[in-house]
Subunit: 348 residues, 2 copies
């Protein structure tokens, strides 16, 4: 077999001494074929660049004009704006969006992927769960010639195109704003250390403190596991009762910031005069809470539109090989919870 | 042709003097067949109870295990909880949910229905737009043997199974609570008069006033068209500046109530001491706003689960003929905005 000729299914069958039908079904992960055979055939096919050829066939044969979309959680302001953008962008191109949620549980995510594969979606948009670290279940799409695009919560262990928020820069600007307003002891209620966007935000926080030579205290960083109101409340209590309390708190999300505000109000600590509070995500609640919450807008709708347009382009071009990353810029939304300079008479 | 034998496609073709292929394609609304022929064939088939027989065939042949779900708006707390329930219930039965939004525009809803039909969903869950009054576009599903279930925002012009909120009772209990707290001049910011659930809530409001013999003033009822914050703000200004201002305001949704609260705070009118405010839907914002907002919980997740389970049952039983209505009970959530008796020292 010469290397500059495209590998066919027949070649694989001959090389591995199996039937063409077995080779074909192994590539599709058919349940009648043993896991071992599937592994051998897929690895051989990948090694010899077989995949793109299968795909071309699949693309022509099986187009359903359905796209699968998996988010960690549906009842969530940011993800519902992403879904809304995805549906609107898909509709314009004649595609439907099948939506599923992982509830931040890896097994649910794997199941959603399998169901999508079984119902032959043309491609996958995914924001991974907190439990997802590698992407074997997503690789199954690529192996069937179906493009995958990761957005927001991503893993670098899987080489797909990505649409991400500039979490580092967003966090940097948020902390810079706190410094500009005069806060000099800034704490961070961060997300889980295994989650990429949580790390990016923490790095942006640290970089801003370093660039502007503000006090850095490891004990001012608390790791939220569930990213909820209760954690915001409990960690703020801990911070404010410590020997060296901060005078501003930058939170991984607005929901955590809500818990921070609740504790501070209950403890009679004035926001923003005594302690400034900064969220991240700019949910609707940021406008409504009292005092209104400064936050970082992530443009969820735009992320949904961009990721969907990219995916449909890949589907139409039979492209499962490119892996560019598109970064959607955040912007800072300043409200009363950090407006120290203009707010000396307190909140209404 | 005897009447107790089931009508076949061949019978229709013979009776109407068209080919079997034309009859078949007409029943499917095929673009090659004229609208007139489609109308004649469908009406004949309906009149002679042909539909169920076609369906049995369709059901066996074309099951995709995809369900279509259309809501007016995706970035909306209530509808996102419904979708979440629908996805979870569908997953348990091995079904996917394709989600679309009408943006409360009839044409968008019709387009979503057509796209769903083209991609062969097995059935439809729909909460109609504010512009939808009859259901021809939904009837297309039924004519293709695909069950339709309406939920929350429904039209009685289309005879399908329905899952609804007990809007009348929810509104009645909300207004009764206001009366129990001592409010005696209760206004209502209602929804559009063409929308069924808006009418039900308005009827519940009127009935409670009547039962407890409280003052009823037609000028205390204002019709919101867009159901947003701005309308709440503007109508409250109008009401409070009138000669006979109310001392409580019951709103069609929490979002409208948010505008009411904004105006009252701006005008220096104390909530709940001077004016009580009651929402409807119990969005997350009701907990967050200051003062926290009393509201009526609609159990969106449960509505999603119930409607989806019903739909899948109909799909599996090839049932497009039943039209039961399931009512999901609401419950009143009392918070600071109406807690007159226990709140004499004002809000924090």
């Amino acid at each position: 077999m010469t290397e500059n000729r495209k590998l066919t299914l027949k070649d694989i069958a001959r090389e591995l001494n199996i039937s063409i039908s077995t080779a074909s079904r192994a590539l599709k992960g058919h349940p009648d074929i043993s896991d071992e055979t599937i592994r051998i055939v897929k690895e051989y096919a990948l090694k010899h660049n077989y995949v793109p050829n299968v795909l071309a066939v699949n693309f022509r044969k099986n187009r359903t004009f359905n796209i699968g979309l998996i988010v960690p959680e549906l009842v969530h302001h940011f993800f519902s704006t992403v879904i809304s953008g995805a549906i609107d962008a898909a509709k314009k191109k004649g595609y439907n969006v099948i939506v599923s949620q992982s509830n931040d549980i890896l097994q649910d995510e794997v199941t959603a992927c399998r169901t999508f594969l079984a119902s032959s979606v043309d491609g996958l948009l995914i924001s991974i769960s907190n439990e997802t670290f590698e992407g074997k279940h997503m690789l199954d799409f690529i192996n069937e010639g179906k493009p995958v695009i990761q957005f927001d919560k991503i893993t670098d262990q899987l080489d797909t195109p990505k649409v991400i928020v500039d979490d580092f820069e967003g966090a940097y600007q948020a902390v810079k704003h706190l410094i500009d307003e005069g806060y000099d002891k800034i704490a961070h209620l961060r997300g889980r250390s295994e989650v990429k966007n949580a790390n990016e935000r923490a790095l942006g926080y640290e970089k801003a403190l370093k660039d502007f030579k503000r006090e850095f205290q490891p004990e001012w960083i608390k790791e939220c596991k569930l990213i909820n109101e209760e954690e915001g409340y409990v960690f703020t209590k801990e911070l404010m009762e410590s020997e060296n309390p901060p005078n501003a708190i930058f939170c991984i999300t607005d929901l955590v910031a809500l818990g921070v505000i609740k504790y501070l109000k209950k403890a009679g600590i004035n926001i923003p005069q005594q302690v400034g509070v900064m969220g991240f995500s700019n949910w609707k609640l940021a406008e409504i809470v009292n005092p209104s919450l400064s936050s970082v807008d992530q443009h969820g709708y735009q992320i949904g539109v961009t990721a969907t347009e990219m995916l449909i382009e890949k589907i139409q071009n039979h492209d499962i090989e490119s892996h560019e990353t598109v970064e959607i810029k955040t912007n800072l939304v300043v409200r009363d919870s950090t407006r120290l300079s203009k707010n000396e008479f307190g909140n209404i």
